[in-house]
Amino acid sequence: MRLPLSWLHDHVVPDLDVRALATRLAMTGTEVDRIDRYGVDGLEHFVVGKVLTCGAHPDADRLRVCTVDVGDGDREAAQQIVCGAPNVAAGQTVAVARPGAIMPDGSKLKAAKLRGQTSAGMILAEAELGLGDDHAGIMVLDSALAAGTPLAEVLPISDTVLELEVTPNRPDCLGVYGVAREVHAATGAPLGPAPWAQDDHPAFDAIPGVTITVQTELCPRFTARAFEHVTVGPSPAWLRARLLAAGLRPINNVVDITNYAMWLTGQPLHAFDLDRVAGGTLTVRAAGEGETMTTLDAAERTLDPDVVLIADADGPTSIAGVMGGQRSEVHAGTTRVLMEVATWDGPNINRTMAKLGLRSEAGARFEKSLAPEQAMEAQAVASRLMRELTGAEPVGGTIDLGGPGPRAQTIRLRDSRVVSLLGAPVKRATSHEILTALGFTVAEADDGLDVAVPAFRRHDVTREADLIEEVARINGFESLPSTVPRNRTGFPGRLTGAQRLRRRAEDVLVGRGLHEVAGWSFTEPALLDRLRLPEDHPLRAVVELENPMSEAQSILRPTIVGSLLDVAAHNAARGMGDVAIFESGCVYRRHADPAEPLADEHHALAALVTGARAPASWRDGASGPADFFAAKGLLEAVAAALRVELTYAPAAEWPFLHPGRSAEVLRAGARVGFVGEVHPLVTADWDLDAHAVGVFAVDLGRLVAGVPGVAAYRDVTSYPAVRQDLAIVVPDTVPAAEVVALVARSAEDVRVFDVYTGAQVGEGRKSIALHCAFRAKDRTLGEEDVTRLRDKLVKRIASELGGELRA
């Protein structure tokens, strides 16, 4: 809401400079986005001048050389000013900008030479002052004005404009007088009488030849007044200046009056050319399914029964509350005007605008649910201006269907409730004063105040808490003490177990040199193809957005792998090809049950490593490139830190992974994620094919489900172990994990330290070397005990794995 300060001053003149006023408004609930200037600056350089002489320019046919008395007195001769306007003539009283003047576009006027003739400024046309579009000629002012009179005293050439951020609960502040009331309450400056207080329109309840019918509940009030002998033409400068300062484009006096009255009262109006209202009838009704009409913006709109329209005998003329139609628009030849001011159902207007993709100043006010009382306020303001500015005379009286809104609600404001909600008391007299200034009607009660809510706050103030807010915001929060509540929940503040484990998992990866990234939850549908997912792949069950910002952000990511590849590619393209990153965040899939409206979301932990596995060192040189095992090592570190046992099985379901270098990650036999090298076709698509790319992704919730929050002690004072290394030769097809698991049945601390394939073990076989420790719970093992255990182990290796101990 742009508020020209001069307009505000019609109604209230606070004793504060504009910055202090802006701060005061901000501290009472009306944010001032910025303080803007409208029109010109350097006002001392704009004066009234008298054209003394006006002669031809020696070198330019279209220019005139004038001498202009700018009121500098005897000491200085009149100024020479070159002027290009055809209507300039000696004897005129004109508006002059002198060197130093700052024009509306911000440019600073300098003394200049035009085709060899000096010019000490310019004689002004309306357009140059931002007052209109008329470039054709200079303005000729009242000859009674003395030369040297400051132009700002004569014409509205400059204003200060407050750009207010009006919160959606306060449509009354979308009118100048409503803001004036706020300023009155916030500063104590006296508030002038309401501009609609006097209404001289004839008091009949009918207009000859006009019939209006309302056929919908969505129009609580519909009022109309008619005028004849209207002369359509430009509005006077003051009105145009006000509209321009407010950010509205002047059109003609009738339309300008509707806009002016809207800006003053907050209530939109619509002017019909009464001679173009077919049959003199207006019907307010729901649109038919598929009914169409052409709105003022020349667009044809298709409507449905939830849209309310105003129709005459020939069909729709307006979309109610949103936009008028072309057919009955006021035009240059209009002489009879029907002024319509109505109240519409806010949510319905909101839906209509959303549905039609059409927003207007009027609709933006109506959707916030205006009070029916405001309709007659706007009629009163508009009627006066119609008479004063267009020569209009009333036809008949006022048609008023619906009348004012419900009787004012009275709410008790208890002193005790004020202090218990705010934590500090407010004097009853102070509350009384504040609420009265805001337009409430206040009466004393035993335990507080009985407060009647004015119509324009009917929707916003309905409960005691709303009144407390009114009192608190005007009273100010500066004096409020700062206290901290007791915690009576019975719980200390804390993270859940899962949240603590998530932090631990993230910290493990950070501790191993990975950078955490924050990817987009949005992604492109093409990601699914880029990941080579077949049609029926579960990851294709994505959550789709109905109104994405763009196609590239139209679905939610079903896996973090795409995000990680994006980040890796971003950095690789900038010369950072060694990437070790992870993300801890949500992934989203459509719920398996179509009746379930929410998504299947889980918190995933995923990492990507490519390029050097570790920073190069001056002694050991560069480490090898990251691969499957680098990614797996990181996942193992996370699992070990969280005390989670994971197993791995060859993967089949992840087409974006290398088929021979990928694994399902299992916990207690159930899949919790995957680890692998990214498929070369996929890395190529992301321009990451310089090195292998290792990734893992796990569902953190499943990974840590049931992990005990508290670890229990296990005996460490047991009998010593006999440590041995075993080399076991098995067929190639036997996974190492099976060998380890088998050995672990007889020994502890079983770890693979070497894998060998080659001539010494024979074709199709491999040797897996293990560290292990034999230990008994109840005694120190002797040589023969160990031999017995080993013999048993060898038999098992042979029978279960087809392997043997390497000699």
Partner: protein, 370 residues
């Protein structure tokens, strides 16, 4: 007899001098052999004690023994000293270039600044007694708007502001219940009604998480992060909100900070306030170099001395009344709620100039924080 005793004394003195003078472990070993070895004089004297007349044996034997033991001790200690000195001499020449980096080079990872900031916020509120809870990002309109007292015409519900999720058409009738519509949550506030439905009062929770709005420029990204707070009890006041947020502001922005409340409007709080923290760059003065010349305006707070950090207020009675369990009777229970942007806190605290940097994930950015 005296000659023998004299001889022992002489040997003792002579050996003591020589041992003290020995300069190397090798020389000391020579002395040990020379004075205490099998062929040396003193052990021989001891061995021949038996041949002495009985009245001399005791004195000579004792003297010789004492001399031998004393020399043993002396050699031992001198040996330790010499060995240490020799080790020191060897170590002194065994040098490395201490300015070379450690081996192996240890990579240093970082938390994303948003995570680091979120954790810092969580930790402050845990300390103030809040429990951390989380909720779904794909959310029902009911929780995102209706249960939070949003007017049916509230502009935030619009397709231009909020992401709606495409729903498979399961109903053949086409009856479309707007409350069953699904959005990407526009704030972490939907966890207020969810948490209250799950837990009877009193309650004190914070809700960190990702949220979404249809906006994209230097100061808006369509996804960002919030931390919501909710505290409800019988006697929680607006002054408590101010005190809690003051404690928060000081923990995050420094002990000197102050906060101020500015009235605002939010559908789910009444009264509603925006909270500003005094600017930490200019200490709330709005000026950077106060002096006789015109003061430079603080660029962080734009000369106002205050930085907006969050929106909050007293929980609207309608929000409490709508909790389906009926456990939050607004005549009995009251409290406050607040919601802050993690990005905004991080940008202010770390002077990050552009919101989009958080999501570019350039390693040169990531390495600076966390």
């Amino acid at each position: 007899m005296s000659t023998t005793l004299d001889r022992i004394a002489t040997l003792h003195a002579e050996a003591t001098g020589a041992i003290d003078a020995a300069g190397t472990v090798a020389a000391l070993e020579e002395l040990r052999v020379g004075y205490l070895g099998r062929k040396a004089e003193l052990p021989n004297l001891l061995r021949s004690v038996a041949q002495l007349p009985p009245e001399e044996r005791g004195a000579v034997g004792k003297a010789a023994n004492q001399a031998r033991q004393a020399l043993d001790v002396l050699i031992e200690s001198r040996g330790t000293a010499l060995a240490a000195a020799e080790l020191d001499a060897r170590l002194a020449v065994d040098t490395v270039d201490v300015t070379l980096p450690g081996v192996p080079a240890q990579p240093v990872g970082r938390l994303h600044l948003l995570t680091a900031t979120r954790r810092a916020i969580e930790d402050v509120f845990c300390g103030l007694g809040f429990t951390v809870v989380e909720g779904p990002e794909v959310e029902l309109v009911h929780y995102n708007f209706d249960a939070l007292n949003h007017d049916p015409a509230h502009p935030a519900r619009g397709r231009s502001d909020t992401f709606y999720v495409r729903r498979p058409r399961t109903d053949s009738v086409g009856a479309h219940d707007p409350a069953n519509e699904v959005v990407l949550r526009t704030h972490t506030s939907p966890m207020q009604p969810r948490a209250m439905a799950a837990q009877a009062p009193p309650i004190a929770i914070i809700v960190p998480g990702r949220v979404y709005r249809r906006d994209s420029d230097a100061t808006h990204t369509p996804q960002f992060h919030q931390v919501e707070g909710l505290a409800v009890d019988e006697d929680i006041t607006l002054a408590d909100l101010k005190g809690t947020l003051l404690a928060f502001a000081r923990a995050i922005f420094g002990d000197e900070r102050d906060v101020r409340l500015r009235p605002h409007f939010f559908p789910f709080t009444e009264p509603s306030v925006e909270v500003d923290v005094s600017c930490f760059q200019c200490a709330g003065t709005g000026a950077l170099k106060p002096g006789p010349t015109r003061p430079a305006r603080c660029n962080l707070c734009k000369g106002t001395g205050w930085l907006e950090i969050l929106g909050s207020g007293m929980v609207d009675p309608n929000v409490l009344g709508m909790v389906p369990t009926g456990e939050y009777d607004p005549e009995r229970w009251q409290g406050y709620a607040f919601g802050m942007g993690v990005e905004r806190i991080a940008m202010l605290r770390h002077s990050v100039p552009d919101l989009r940097l958080f999501y570019d994930n350039d390693l040169r950015f990531l390495a600076q924080f966390g």
